[in-house]
Chain length 178, copies 2
């Protein structure tokens, strides 16, 4: 499947509503349960998505459009905002993520990106040269990575509760690749 910007944007637009449907008013045992030390709960994952919305996707897209390969992206801090977000109401985080995503997509739409712009190149601090097309496709797959992770983290809370069925439930075999 080729990268098509309209398809990418249609997925990016869905993620806040999907997370809202899954997580809003979820019992704390699911929302705050993680997979052990230095792992993330669904709450932590929403904080991470908010942080990425602030510092990763549109800032990097703007940098490619303005500076091309001549300027290297700021490294992305995977643990950004984790500490200062502890204790915030989960519903407030979901609202904030939805608002930021909506703003990002408005800005992206206004840029009127066509095939020529998609091929523009930027410089990633570790991966080297990347294209705007790859950045935008990665944004969508990053959403899916964290939906994949949330479903696994939640399932793991019931690892014992399912008894012998654990052998049949694929999500419980997931080694935790994020």
């Amino acid at each position: 499947m080729e990268h098509e910007l309209q398809q990418t944007m249609s997925l990016l637009a869905r993620t806040p509503a999907a997370l809202n449907a899954l997580l809003r008013d979820l019992p704390e045992a699911w929302m705050l349960g993680d997979e052990g030390e230095n792992t993330w709960s669904p709450f932590d994952i929403v904080v991470h998505l908010i942080h990425a919305e602030h510092t990763d996707w549109m800032p990097r897209a703007r940098m490619i459009l303005q500076f091309g390969e001549s300027r290297t992206f700021e490294p992305f801090d995977r643990l950004g905002q984790m500490r200062e977000s502890r204790g915030r109401p989960p519903g407030q985080l979901l609202d904030e993520f939805a608002r930021l995503r909506s703003e990002s997509l408005s800005e992206l739409g206004a840029l009127q990106i066509g095939q020529e712009e998609l091929e523009l190149r930027g410089r990633h601090p570790a991966l080297g040269v990347v294209t705007l097309s790859q950045l935008l496709a990665t944004w969508a797959v990053h959403d899916l990575t964290h939906l994949h992770q949330i479903s696994r983290v939640m399932a793991n809370q019931y690892r014992d509760a399912v008894g012998p069925w654990s052998a049949y439930l694929g999500v419980l075999q997931c080694g935790g690749h994020g």
Copy 2:
């Protein structure tokens, strides 16, 4: 985390809305794209969830309550309804799943299941003796398994599009455990 029926029901109630937010009116390339021969698309997964709602969860719960270990569950056909559902409008499937799940939860709620009933035992054709508590917890984790799978199947459509970022995207490392 102990199995608590209210928590299980709160998750079961969320799944149709989460799938609706993620999949309704999704471009066909995402909705119908699978991972190769004999693998499932998001469309197929919704068909499977509908089939499970008809033949698996509440029928087995009723069987435990009525017959205990004396009667073995019907084996569950993982490929049930796949063929006859081809070509149906995806939105219609999402509606049907939401309706069936709502009916299942109404029936489950009306049973007024308490701790005593949760410990009742039934007989699985392959796993042997299981409890009603394990069956209901499995129902919720089965939802999560398929949300996990949908996010992976969708991400895989963009495996090439993300370029060198594929190394960082956990969902693309998922070996496909369902």
